[in-house]
Symmetry: C4
Subunit: 437 residues, 4 copies
């Protein structure tokens, strides 16, 4: 996708993206004899390099033993492990920085090849570098990975983060900053408010699910704020280090993954904030979703047990029959997702028929009939039945339409906080989303 | 798709399509320093060209400064802006016409390249030309676009209009013309009819939704007629200009977009005309769709509030988690469409799993269970329940089957207008649709 | 797919397929000035060749005027027209046979090219030839088509029939033949039986829908038998002609299309035979599908009117907005199919969004909400409600379980005929299906 | 996917996979005149090689007649036949082993080509070899197939088994072995337990469907154990043979297919074990799925008869109309699967429209209306109605909530067996699945 045009002096990619510092290359190896050779084969095979696991990692010096690329460097604590196609890789390894110029880099790589830097024990090679685009004020943190599974061959993958690590440049950014400060103040007010409420109500407070939701929101918010502060500080430190020496590799990958974690926390936070709105929309009889759900809960749980037994039975069947042939059934979790997608209509019948010409079609037909036709319709029947009952019950009660005014008063009081925050985050995310280099 | 075979004299494409006048090339630039460089990077980066916005446009002369391609030309008023992949581009810019011969065109482009016509500030280049195919009497208005986003790289796109700008050639066309005249007379009669009715009934008239629909239809029809007249006149003017000088660029793109606007207005008009038929099909008890819908309106609105809160909560979650990785979640609107498509069964699970290996599957499973299984079935339960009630109610009332005769009398009176018009438009559109060059 | 390896003597394709006689090439032209040039363009354009229509066909001699390829040959009556991408082509034209040897064929084609056999008026070129595979006793009738639409460019397509024209070779074939004779006898018996019944019951007979189905089956069966006899005779004649002169083009295409017609008649016949079984499965109360359907017929018809008004309103909207951009909406029929596929979940949202960025999403969302969510669920509600009623009614009636014995007696009496015939056809079709060369 | 890098000495593929012994190449031929040539064609065609069937196999010597590749070798009994695209191939044929070195192998193949080893009668060529990967202790058994159908041309396919034939290497394997022993003991206990019960209850025992399920589970378990023991023994024998002579072809394909059969038996076994859990979850009224299903059984069977008559009628129609053009309708079974996929939403409308422009759309529309809209909704109506009835009935009965305790006692007693076994198999399969070389 991105052609590297490392010019002599400027190190720009596509003219607009500045390469930050230099690229780092790192490999992970496993020790010999990390698996046992069956006696029959000991005559033919001397070496046995197992799959990558942290315990099987080779940490001894090898080759020329004179530089960092031949010596094991331990992983810094807190740095994230990489989840590849065939394993979870630690962040240590045999690593070195590429020189700044293209010519020297090629020479370095040729030299390593001549000295067999990649061995039979090599299980993964990582190439890490970061770029900065001043036009849109975004960092692009890139990791290219080649995995060498124990089965032979090579698998390539890549991981790209686009993150706005330097905030607060334009006036709009300063507006966002002020919003964030407001949000912090809100959260503090909330904490005090809730603390008083807990002291007052004691155990009573913890009986309502909505209060639990409030607490969850508070905890997640505080976590997000802390993470945000940490990231901002870490970027400053890293930037100063980078400016003092341009030939160093700056570990933005580490920051990128924290940023993603932060985004996920915010996402979950806002999701629950949306769900909290449901608390305020109970003014209408028939919109009492919770009451309908709690009413048919017993039936639904009973049904769900049956549904999941049959569903898991099919997942297990699919896993054992197609698991070694079809990617969609390669793990038990994948089987569950595949079956849900079958229910939605997104299914590849040809592959399961190719995998097993007899059991494939039987699996498909019986699944469609028992799960799609019968169980899903039964689920519908339960909800249908309960809705009629709940409605019949509420028709006896007096109308509660007056609560609408209440609703808006209460909502406006609390929602404002979340809406402001939502707007802030939306702005930032919007920025990030539209400009992946 | 279309190989340009510009022959010396005739300028035909594929032998059958006449190139109208010459092609125009236009670029849009942004000024330097339209974004702010963070202090850390001021040592490495001097220039900063922001994303394209109308405000950031560079309008000063550059390069040789002697011809139109080096001088900014303002956009003519009313000409439509172009909605590209990364922005909404104005219709001004640095523009020039290509010469008529292929050889001279190549020389021109080589010359521009040598003088660096495309700069780092260039954000979009447009190539516009139009062709006419006499065999099918259709204009083909072509715009080729290359966008240079602030992130580096280039994005190509194209925009092609096929429009029948010259109408009234064959006898069938003249028949259509007479239909259009009839339609205008009908509309005038209608306006008078409705005006009298409004004067008579006053405020009473505006209480029925069907009357509002009538007024809407009238307004849209009048608009369509006005636009139609304008387009026909504009084509004549443009054609005469073109005939007097073959080396000019004729701006059919402008006309093409008006034509598309006109088609859309007609499309919406006919859609509401179809919906209006529903007014006349109330003769049967059980076909009283409006009565069923109005009956369960309160329940459905209540349910819809819950549904949309949960639906938007998920859309927000998807936007923040997958937004920067998955195209389908790149904007909040896209998230809504993606989730609707998930409900219909058109969904790409692999990409969201690749984007986030933990939250992706959780998002998918909880969405399927809460929205697809529970909320949609609850919606069905509400409609089911209400239908039973409505039916039970109507069974008590006396039969109204006699109204069928009424129905046909009323329908035949009013429908004729729309049917004629519908036939006219169908004919024209049919023509256009089947012959995209 | 199939590489032509015309060897000097044997004319085999893939070693196993014998080329029957020689290939025929045929072109269709339209006359000049079959469309009118708008006055503005008369200076630039002299010629105007319209789209292909039978009326616009050019039938005059051209070029060298000395051989069949320069002279128009009328279409033999009864020979089928070809339904191409842009028109329905007659089976006449300027035609010639290719020589038997590859070298001479190339020379012939070069000669035609030098003499401009293809002109601006050419609208379609057909290359027809047939092969026979003795291993599986199948004819393969191949038509390669190049269409030159009035818009310029060229569209290629192909049409391949695999047909077992020579039947009755192996012993199994003779068994099938005896089955076919038996079937004819059955049909004659049936006709007599039904004739007697009609004479007896007179008008009474025509009141039952099942009797109409019986008559339909008889008529279609007689038609199929007649067609079968005709095809068998025609093949014999054609084969004898071919054997006497190997340098002639044998028109198997003609036979192939009759064969397909015959297959379709048989398919429809067997379909109705299956449906007829429903007549005999009325022994159980709840399986009285017809009674349920006739019970809710009035409601369903009323609902269907509303459903189709809304459905067609959307189809019309989609046709006018997206018709000229998206293939799936290019005709009104396509719009209907596309919307049905949307309901099933097979839909390409991206293309309609690209075609119209504002109305595309509005169309999609409102369609999903009004048609997919509301109208389809209302349809379900109607069936659900009626089923409850019908069931409640039947529970009052006495059980009719005893009819099962009746059922089998009646079924066995009549079904045998169809089953035998079904087996016959299945065998033949099975043969054909598995061996497309 | 796998580049063969046969090094002189070691015969490794991708460095990590040891080639076991040598590869074997085998062809199957049919006799001349295995089909009859129609009299018309006897002048043109002398030879006729029918499709592959066991009866039509050529078993006579041919070519040089001096080595195994020119002499027919009968298939060993018990070795599995190969199910290719166009037939079921026996495991005999003209076979030979490739030499160990690459150079000699090429020479051998060139020699065979010069002597026309592949003839017009050749119907299939198989290349079999196996590799062993010590890193993950997996055998990879590979069969590459080229089929030469009677219609001419060639079809390639491949078949790959990944199997853990050598078990019990690591400590974890020994743990699995001990689990397997435990499982066998459990099964023996079970058999005794059930035998006593049968003797006690006699015919009474066979009246419950759950008891039949128990017996089924026992039989399948015993079968799996026997197969497991057989496979383990066969591998040992084969390995010893291989070690004594490296130039022999070891028939692991044979073992691979037994292994797959064994896996399938285990999969079905565990599936029924899951279903058996349903016996214990009858404590709640509404979870009595069996009672609901048995209640509406009569209605559902009646409905199912109608459903399948209509469904098969459509399948037959689709088969006869589209069978020879569309892959998805090429057999009657495929038609059934295709129609089920249409109901789920995975359907390719374009191909059936291309196959028959008139009947294709009619088939599609009527299928969607009658089967998707009407019959499926009727099915839902039946389940809905029955659920309401069943619930109403059970509400009269006293609560049986107390059975939950019972449930867990019973479940824990029996489930433990299956859970342990499930874990074992899961471990093994997991191993296999993740490491296909």
């Amino acid at each position: 996708n991105t052609t590297l045009t490392l010019q002599n002096n400027s190190s720009h990619i596509y003219y607009e993206n500045l390469l930050l510092g230099v690229a780092q290359i790192r490999q992970l190896k496993v020790r010999n004899n990390t698996c046992s050779i069956y006696p029959y084969f000991r005559a033919f095979l001397q070496d046995c390099y197992g799959e990558y696991r942290y315990g099987a990692e080779d940490r001894s010096d090898f080759g020329l033993r004179n530089k960092s690329e031949w010596k094991y460097t331990s992983a810094p604590s807190l740095s994230p492990w990489y989840w590849g196609s065939t394993g979870l890789y630690s962040s240590g390894g045999y690593m070195f920085n590429l020189p700044k110029s293209k010519q020297e880099s090629v020479e370095k790589l040729v030299f390593l090849r001549q000295n067999s830097w990649l061995t039979r024990g090599t299980r993964a090679v990582f190439i890490d570098f970061s770029t900065y685009n001043a036009n849109v004020n975004l960092f692009c943190i890139i990791r290219l990975v080649v995995e060498f599974p124990a089965t032979g061959g090579a698998l390539t993958s890549s991981h790209i983060y686009s993150a706005k690590l330097l905030r607060y440049i334009t006036y709009y950014d300063y507006f966002l900053a002020s919003c964030e400060v407001t949000f912090c103040l809100f959260i503090i007010t909330f904490i005090i408010h809730k603390a008083i409420k807990i002291v007052k109500l004691k155990k009573e407070y913890f009986r309502s699910a909505w209060n639990w939701l409030d607490l969850l929101l508070l905890v997640v918010s505080v976590l997000a704020i802390a993470l945000n502060i940490y990231c901002t500080a870490a970027v400053s430190l890293l930037m100063e280090e980078l400016l003092s020496n341009a030939h160093v590799y700056p570990d933005f990958y580490f920051l990128g993954s924290w940023q993603v974690l932060y985004n996920n926390i915010v996402a979950v936070n806002i999701f629950f904030a949306w769900i909290k709105i449901l608390e305020y929309v109970q003014f209408n009889k028939s919109t009492r979703l919770p009451s309908i759900l709690s009413r048919c809960a017993k039936d639904i749980i009973g049904f769900a047990i049956i549904f999941f037994i049959v569903f898991f039975a099919y997942a297990q069947l699919g896993y054992l029959i197609f698991g070694s042939q079809v990617e969609d059934f390669s793990t038990f979790q994948n089987c569950i997702f595949t079956q849900l997608r079958l229910v939605l209509g997104d299914f590849n019948f040809d592959t399961i028929e190719a995998a097993n010409r007899v059991l494939g079609p039987i699996y498909f037909i019986t699944f469609v009939f028992f799960v799609f036709f019968t169980l899903l319709n039964l689920f519908l029947a339960i909800i249908n039945d309960t809705y009629s009952e709940v409605k019949a019950d509420f028709e006896v009660l007096p109308s509660q339409e007056l609560r609408i005014r209440d609703f808006f008063r209460r909502v406006s009081k609390q929602l404002s906080t979340y809406l402001i925050y939502f707007k802030i985050r939306g702005g930032i995310l919007n920025y990030i989303t539209h400009k992946d280099p």
